[in-house]
Amino acid sequence: MNKKTIISLVLVLVLAALASYLVVPSEHPEWLKRLLAWQPESARSLDFRLGLDLQGGLQVLMVADVSDQQALTAETMRAAAQIVEGRVNGLGLSEPVVQVQGTRRIIVELPGIADPEQAIDTIRDTALLEFVEPPAGAGDAALEPGRVVSTTYGLVEGGVVPPGTYTTVLIGDALDSAFSTIDDTSGQPMVIVRFKAADTQRFYEYTLNNIGRPLCMVLDKTILSCPTIRDAIPDGEAQISGGFTSEGAQQLAIQLRYGALPVPLKIESYRAIGPSLGALSVEKSIRAGVVGLVVVFLFMLIYYRLNGLAADLALALYVLLNLLFYKLLPVTMTLPGIAGFLLSAGMAVDANILVFERMKEELRHGRSLQRGAEAGFSRAWTSVRDSNLATLLTCAILWFFGNAFAASLVKGFALTLALGTLINMFTALVVTRTFVRLALGLLGEERLRRYPWLLGI
């Protein structure tokens, strides 16, 4: 047994100890968690993250509700996602996910939510804000707050505008901020609206040409308020006053602020999973995993004897390292993700099997144990490399497919399978080789020759 084997044995053992410490559920010191610099600061932890299907919750996929011709920039979608996120954060959940998917979709995942209806209402409340001009000759009734109206926004340009349609002047993304305050002179509550610099000129021109006429603020096609333009507004800062209670002013400001979605969103698909369902799934998956893996362990041990023991040790480390990466990265565990992991563990012994079969062949050709083992590892490498690359390519295709449609279940499976394949290259080759060399070194060529059953030849 040479020095190299001993060094790699020590490294493998240290790695195993470290991984076990981190994987086994226990109280880990705070400074350890602080080392996880790549995880978002608020959510650094060494716990497994459970997906929606395992802890219950709500997944909502929303799509920009505009005609296909209307171009959407990535920035618009990001801004919309940010606003939705602001709303969702108000629900006080631990790990909500709000992400832009593809070019026109936003996915919202709310794990562990108790009341999906309330959550959907909250998300849906993030409505489209428009500043609209009432149709010519409209009476007072047309300006009543709460009235549902139709506007020109989202209509195909150049198309026929039905009579009675309100003309959209500006939409929510022109708004920089909105807040309620008390008018210094009159002591009345009022709302201050500030427009972005880019839209100030447009707002100025519009107000200049329409003094004395009403301008309506419409949230999700429902009139919030229709103040009259008293003066041209050159600096992009408008005051809305008159007839507000302080609560009313506050509410309007909040609606203007949070309702300032740059694009209207429509719920396209959603999935509400009862919270108790997940616990049962976790329990069942663990049982299935333990049974499956124990059979694999036994099979390797019985079929490949001493080599099988080395492979089993490597497989145990494989399981540990996978779990470690799930915690560190972190990987959100889903039911298909667990299946992918178990399957990859079952396939992980493939590399070992390739090597051991090769070893047997070399031994049958009359090589010494030492050289047979080394030849087994080096000759099997091309097969192992190529076949694992093929799996990684498949995972990449799955990942892209899953990503385009917020199919987080597909993504979970692809991720765990790919991660397993990579870790396996290490454990099946490096770790198993170390253990096989160790066994050969400890027992010696002579003794093993006398007991060929130990190698299953």
Partner: protein, 309 residues
């Protein structure tokens, strides 16, 4: 040594029979359901209520609650053991408000809806169509990647393209067999293809490449070693030498899958089952079909110059 090459014809006939049976299964499904496979809401849109009740509830009560909210063409099925009180109801696309209205009415008439153990899934038809389109693309891309990958891996031996084509043929057989199985289960168990079904298909594709590569890799190694041997003998030798490995590996993967089938939850059953069938088919095609396609092709290719001289 078993003569695998001599039995080539038998393997091809067997593979052909599997493909024909699968296609018949899919055509039968098309005749009955209008789809080669029964597809779920992931691909065609609609709403799926998986509701657990706390007591026994009759199918009629469920149907009435849905009908009262305007859903007449619902498909109502009991899931698992009758004492689970689990039901699955498929309807056309329901908005969030409609879902809530239905659930409220159902709870009113049964007073037994266990929300904590229920799942509501709803997908608009337009997304479904888009998912279906890109699913087809994903399978197409996977086939091309396999072809390119094998062509590239075996670029140093004569006629690498033949290995690529043989792999893709084997892969397609596996995909067709897996789909045929699913079509059959659509009749027997009402299984519908969802995003996970596609995942299983793509995984089978990946694994089938993995197995084929191991055999091809051995052929690649044996060609220079046994120069002068007829190609059929090299093929036979390579199959023999990799047989143990293939069987041992497949067995291990199957242990895990069978364990999940037996002890895992119901949700994953169709997913794992179709993967298991794909894997069985893939073990067969990698050892007994792909290799022999290359063998047949190589022999034809060699005969021709011999005749010319």
């Amino acid at each position: 040594m078993i003569d695998f090459v001599r039995n080539r014809r038998t393997y091809f006939i067997l593979a052909g029979a599997l493909v024909v049976l699968s296609v018949i299964g899919m055509l039968a499904s098309y005749a009955v359901y209008g789809q080669l496979l029964r597809v779920g809401i992931d691909f065609k849109g609609g709403s799926l209520f998986s509701i657990r009740f706390t007591t026994d509830v009759s199918e009629e009560t469920i149907r009435e609650a849905f009908a009262a909210e305007g859903y007449s063409g619902t498909i109502v099925q009991q899931l698992g053991d009758p004492t689970d009180y689990s039901w699955q109801i498929r309807t056309s696309f329901a908005t969030t408000d409609q879902v809530n209205a239905v659930l409220a009415r159902l709870d009113e008439s049964t007073v037994a809806v266990d929300r904590g153990n229920s799942v509501v899934d709803t997908v608009e038809a337009s997304v479904g169509a888009e998912v279906a389109r890109s699913a087809a693309q994903a399978v197409g891309v996977a086939a091309l990647v396999v072809l390119a990958f094998i062509w590239f891996s075996f670029r140093r031996i004569p006629n690498p393209l033949r290995y690529g084509v043989a792999s893709v043929v084997a892969m397609l057989i596996n995909v067709i067999v897996a789909m045929g199985f699913y079509a059959l289960m659509g009749f027997l168990q009402g299984w519908e293809a969802d995003a996970l079904f596609l995942t299983a298909i793509l995984t089978v594709i990946g694994f089938s490449v993995q197995d084929i590569i191991v055999v091809f890799d051995r052929i690649r190694e044996n060609i220079p070693r046994h120069r002068g041997e007829p190609f059929s003998l090299i093929v036979n030798r390579s199959i023999m030498e990799t047989l143990h490995r293939s069987l041992a590996t497949q067995l291990n993967a199957m242990f895990v899958m069978i364990a999940i089938l037996l002890f895992g939850g119901d949700t994953l059953k169709p997913f794992i089952a179709v993967m298991l069938v794909g894997m069985l088919s893939e073990t067969f095609t990698s050892m007994f079909v792909a290799v022999h396609i290359v063998g047949l092709w190589e022999e034809r290719g060699r005969l021709r110059p011999a005749r010319a001289s």
